[in-house]
């Protein structure tokens, strides 16, 4: 019953860089002994000595280095806006590791012959980390990324993205021609529209046919997740979704993070999520 590896860590900011028009890359000192799996999250008190912002803010991990935890974030409201002003050395409190992770057990992975990551916007964060972890253990596995963003202002620098993916399908809501030329070293395709402009494309169709047992890992805004479930209804791809919800605590003490279960009742996303099996939940 005890989760002895969870702790409330005193950490500090090691970097906080604006990496495109919309995203920041936050580096946090990695406490000794701290480990975390792809899909899990940390819960951060941005202003440890103030009651404003009041609650902690949950963030997925984007990468994990020996001495640094990387978090990719965008400004949403008061908390993230404040976070974006913080300088190196600023102290934070961080609870983690929290929640469930994307599948990575040998018993599971050995049956897989391809991975499809479907990211909407900032949803790239945990998927990028997942790609990293897959490649570390199963280098032979193809990872394909379907990445929906509004426009070029959301593109990650090329070196963040080019190593892991056999192919990348970009869906841009407002595509501009020059954006096709941004990534040189990768096998990229560009579509105009939301992620389904990619998922329903001829190119995707011929790609997916190459795999017998692909899995999907999906992270993005709620409407995208709902549409994905709808899209997958007659396809039955094995899918793992990373969800979001308001969180009071992050460690199963408040029951604030309820998400409807498909079998009725609720799961609590900070413990039984954020990564859930697509059949288990009922997004409304």
């Amino acid at each position: 019953m005890l989760k002895k590896d969870i702790s409330d860590y005193d950490v500090f900011i090691t970097k906080n860089d604006k990496i495109n028009e919309n995203y920041y890359l936050l580096g946090i000192s990695r406490p000794s002994g701290f480990d975390i799996m792809a899909g899990q999250f940390v819960n951060i008190k941005i202003e440890p000595n103030s009651i404003q912002p009041f609650l902690r803010r949950p963030f997925s991990v984007f990468y994990l280095d020996k001495y640094e935890i990387g978090i990719l974030y965008q400004i949403k409201g008061e908390g993230t806006k404040l976070l974006s002003t913080k300088k190196n050395g600023t102290k934070l409190k961080m609870i983690g590791p929290l929640g469930t992770s994307f599948p990575l057990e040998d018993s599971f992975m050995k049956n897989i012959d391809g991975v499809f990551l479907i990211a909407g916007g900032i949803g790239i964060a945990p998927l990028f980390f997942y790609a990293n972890r897959i490649k570390a253990k199963y280098e032979y596995l193809d990872i394909n990324l379907i990445y929906g963003i509004r426009d070029g202002g959301f593109l990650l620098p090329e070196d963040y993205i080019k190593y892991y993916f056999s192919s990348i399908f970009f869906s841009l809501e407002r595509k501009k021609v020059y954006e096709e030329n941004i990534y040189s070293g990768c096998n990229c395709k560009f579509f105009e529209g939301n992620i389904f402009s990619a998922l329903n494309s001829f190119e995707f169709d011929s790609l997916i046919k190459k795999y017998n047992n692909p899995i999907f890992a999906v992270c993005g805004p709620d409407p995208m997740l709902k549409a994905f479930i709808e899209w997958n209804k007659d396809k039955y791809f094995e899918s793992y979704l990373s969800l979001e919800s308001f969180m009071g605590c992050g460690f199963h003490a408040c029951l604030g993070c309820a998400v409807p279960k498909s079998s009725g009742g609720y799961i609590y996303l900070c413990e039984e999520g954020p990564v859930v099996y697509y059949k288990d939940i009922n997004l409304q």
């Binding site: 009041f54 029951l255 409304q284």
Partner: protein
């Protein structure tokens, strides 16, 4: 340890620092952060006879200095609580950490059945009767609409059990005093307050209330002055032990609660933000007593001196 002891009527605790129901899970969620058994006691999540799903999301929203919740008494029901946690609770009790069950029901019978089951297990030191949850339409709150209805419930419970009864009162009243008196007259041993304040938040984008239930329970540091007011009024209405809560966020806050007559305190919402807060308060209180070379009882006496003048 005896420096911090609380002994008043039926309220026997190794120290005055408890946790508030619904903000501390079943206790074990906090074991990764500190040794829970050091606390004076824990209050577990509001419990009903049958498992309860609770309200649809969203259930939480942050406001200035606190939060609104609309959990709706989601819980696994008394039987599963005992099945899953009785061993853990007994280990806490063995370490001198009191375990308080927060009991909720729609009808008097619900309360009585939970108490029957609880009595048979011996894994609770106190029964906290929640007549003040603002987040369910039926149930608890109905018993706090007038002192008489509440008194009837407490009276029935009193006849059923010898375990000390805590009555948890709502701050959404014109005056707390008639409720305190009715609780006392009906056989309550201890008063606890405050539960959450009724509050509303509107989502301006969707042009709808944030919560499906429209209103929710407001808690956190923002409500502290209101909590202190009600506890002071309660103190003037009864000699029963009082457990005070509402926004406690640091050591000074805790002393303020003692100063208006609380015999013990509970930390609620701040557990969610800072899971080690109760442990930190305990250490600070210990040091404070040692530095002042006075037991807590003496410190409380000094803090409440002003009331006697």
């Amino acid at each position: 340890m005896s420096l911090l002891e609380v002994k008043k009527g039926k309220l026997n605790l190794k120290n005055p620092i408890l946790t508030a129901s619904g903000t501390f899970g079943y206790g074990d969620e906090f074991e990764p952060f500190f040794d829970v058994s050091l606390l004076g006691g824990i209050t577990i999540k509001g419990t009903t006879l049958n498992p309860k799903d609770g309200n649809p999301p969203p259930r939480i929203y942050e406001v200035y200095g606190g939060m609104l919740n609309s959990i709706g008494l989601a819980n696994i029901g008394i039987n599963q609580v005992i099945e899953k946690y009785s061993k853990y609770f007994l280990s806490l009790i063995n370490s001198g950490c009191a375990v308080i069950i927060n009991i909720n029901g729609e009808k008097i019978e619900d309360f009585l059945k939970i108490i029957e089951i609880s009595d048979s297990t011996g894994c609770f030191n106190f029964y906290e009767i929640n007549v003040s949850c603002p987040n369910v339409k039926k149930g608890g709150i109905a018993f706090s609409q007038d002192p008489k209805t509440m008194g009837k419930l407490i009276n029935k419970i009193r006849k059923k059990t010898k375990t000390p009864i805590i009555v948890k009162l709502s701050p959404n009243v014109q005056s707390i005093s008639p409720y305190v008196k009715s609780a006392e007259d009906s056989g309550a041993d201890i008063i606890s307050l405050i539960n959450t304040m009724k509050g509303i938040s509107i989502d301006i984008n969707s042009k709808k209330p944030r919560f499906k239930n429209i209103y929710a329970g407001f808690s956190g540091p923002a409500i502290k002055p209101i909590a202190l007011y009600h506890i002071y009024e309660a103190r003037r209405s009864t000699c029963l032990p009082i457990i005070g809560m509402g926004g406690i966020n640091n050591f000074n806050d805790m002393l303020e609660f003692f100063a208006v007559g609380a015999d013990a305190i509970e930390v609620g919402t701040m557990n969610l933000v800072n899971p080690t807060i109760t442990y930190e308060l305990l250490i600070e209180l210990e040091k404070y007593c040692e530095n002042n070379k006075k037991p807590l009882s003496k410190i409380k006496e000094e803090l409440t001196q002003w009331m006697k003048q």
